[in-house]
Amino acid sequence: MENKANVPRRPIWTGSLTIGLVNVPIKLYSMIYDRGISFRFLHKKDGHPLKYQKVCTKDEKVVPWVEVAKGYEIAKNEYIIFDKEELEAVKPESDKRIRLDKFVDYFSVDPVYFDRSYVLMPDKSSGAYGLLLAAFEKKGKAGVGRITLRTKEYPALVHAYKGALVLTTLRYAYDVVDPQGFEELKKLKEPEKAELDMAVKIVTDLSGEFDITAYKDSYKQKVEELIKKKLKGQKVVVEKPAEKEVKELMVALRETLKQLEKK
């Protein structure tokens, strides 16, 4: 497993980044991959994959997509029904523009607010992008603005990272728990001076550089080893039989059945 994710091929958003009068056309690429181990549910008995079906809770019948609506629960088991069109109509219009109206120190925004990071790349002209990048690198600041991705509007930070502009969407204050809400914190005692000195010394002694590549998902590695072992021994391979091959077999089969009947 490499330490870095592959560069994505397609931008997920195009628009522009503006600071005052400077307007920089940009493309936005995903920067984060969730590369866990994924499993598919199978039927234990015959190894075939399971599928999900939407079943009506009233008559237990499978409901086709065209009959599906969205409901907003206003009280227990009481919903307001929305059509797809109704919700479509109020979708925020992506204004295709990220306006940076403030500059802050990157870590004055605590990482608990960081949602997801994206790489910004110049769209067509790279001159303005280079200029902006140089300014960010020189000042060591991050720009604050807003971006609309799909149906959601996010606060966002733009900063220079490894010679590129990176945008990080932020969580809203109301989506993040304030730890001071926990009762436990109210009962904390003041530490003794000697204890504190000791703790500070330990922290100082253990201080060092942080290397993210030193961390590996050991569960994932173990499962991958297990998969390799299983591949050598028994395995569950379920492939759809190729239609053409099945047809040819059926032709042969009919012929043979005819012959066997004659006997």
Partner: protein, 286 residues
């Protein structure tokens, strides 16, 4: 879909089983389907031993006596106590087309059968001569011996039947009434083999001589309970995808090439030389 005409659920049809000839599992299944009318009668009620090659003949295959895990309930099996394994072994019986197709779908390329049936395991219905040339003896030499053997059996008034082994030799069978035990058929076959060996310097009839280069062994030891031979029309796990092919005695002559009797050519043969073999219940003088 037309699924209902077989109970078998096909899997991995495009798996290459014979990589040299690019033969897929679909083609193996097709062969067994097409040959079934000629083949099924030989398999009926015989506890089968399979050699499976799920990843093709270039990868390790395995012998299988026990019906594998996941054997459908409609597949007939028979429990037989194994002295060596000290337990019951659950053998597959292939009494119908679906089971044969199912075996092919398991990539059970080689299907071996005993010389007796499940209900009367100690009484064979064939006496079996395995004509096996040891290099540099060739298939040509095996032809000579098979014909000498036929001549000998003819003189005894016994009708014999021949098939290629699918490898380098011949299998000669004398169908018999189910009234002899294996010890008797074994003695009979051994006796004939000894006579041949006396008359022909290149024939050997004793197990200890089998590996003598240039000799042809007429093997009598297979005439034992629990021993098996590759089934008539059974495929061999060799690169040429050969078939153990029943032949007319007139076909056993110079020029016949066992490697050309493969899963594609054998289904095209109109001859059915063993058609009457199971009805021909002969008596031995033992």
């Amino acid at each position: 879909m037309s699924k209902k005409i077989t109970k078998v659920e096909f899997t991995n049809l495009d798996k290459l089983l014979f990589p040299q000839l690019k033969i897929t599992k679909a083609q193996l299944i097709e062969y067994y389907i097409k040959i079934a009318p000629k083949m099924l009668g030989f398999l009926a009620n015989r506890p089968l031993v399979l050699t499976r090659f799920p990843d093709g003949i270039d990868k390790e295959g395995f012998y299988e006596k026990d019906a594998p895990q996941g054997t459908p309930t409609w597949v007939k099996t028979v429990k037989i106590y194994s002295e060596t394994a000290k337990r019951d072994v659950n053998y597959v019986l292939c009494n119908d087309l679906d089971t044969l197709i199912w075996l092919a779908n398991l990539a059970a390329i080689e299907i071996h059968m005993p010389l007796s049936k499940a209900g009367s395991r100690e009484k064979p219905d064939f006496a079996f001569f395995d004509v096996d040339p040891e290099s540099p003896a060739t298939f040509e030499d095996a032809i000579t011996v098979a014909l000498l053997l036929k001549e000998k059996l003819d003189k005894l008034g016994l009708e014999s039947y021949v098939k290629t082994s699918g490898k380098k030799g011949f299998h000669v069978l004398v169908p018999i009434a189910q009234k002899y035990i294996f010890r008797e058929t074994r003695t009979f076959v051994h006796q004939i083999g000894r006579e041949l060996a006396k008359e022909q310097p290149f024939v050997v009839s004793e197990f200890k001589e089998t590996k003598k280069p240039g000799k042809i062994f007429v093997d009598y030891l297979q005439n034992s309970q629990g021993r098996t031979m590759v089934s008539p029309y059974g495929v061999r796990a060799v690169p040429e995808a050969t078939v153990s092919t029943p032949l007319e005695w007139t076909e056993v002559k110079k020029g016949i090439k066992p490697t050309e009797l493969n899963i594609f050519s054998v289904v095209k043969r109109e001859k059915d030389p063993w058609k009457k073999i199971l009805e021909n219940k002969q008596r031995l003088k033992v």
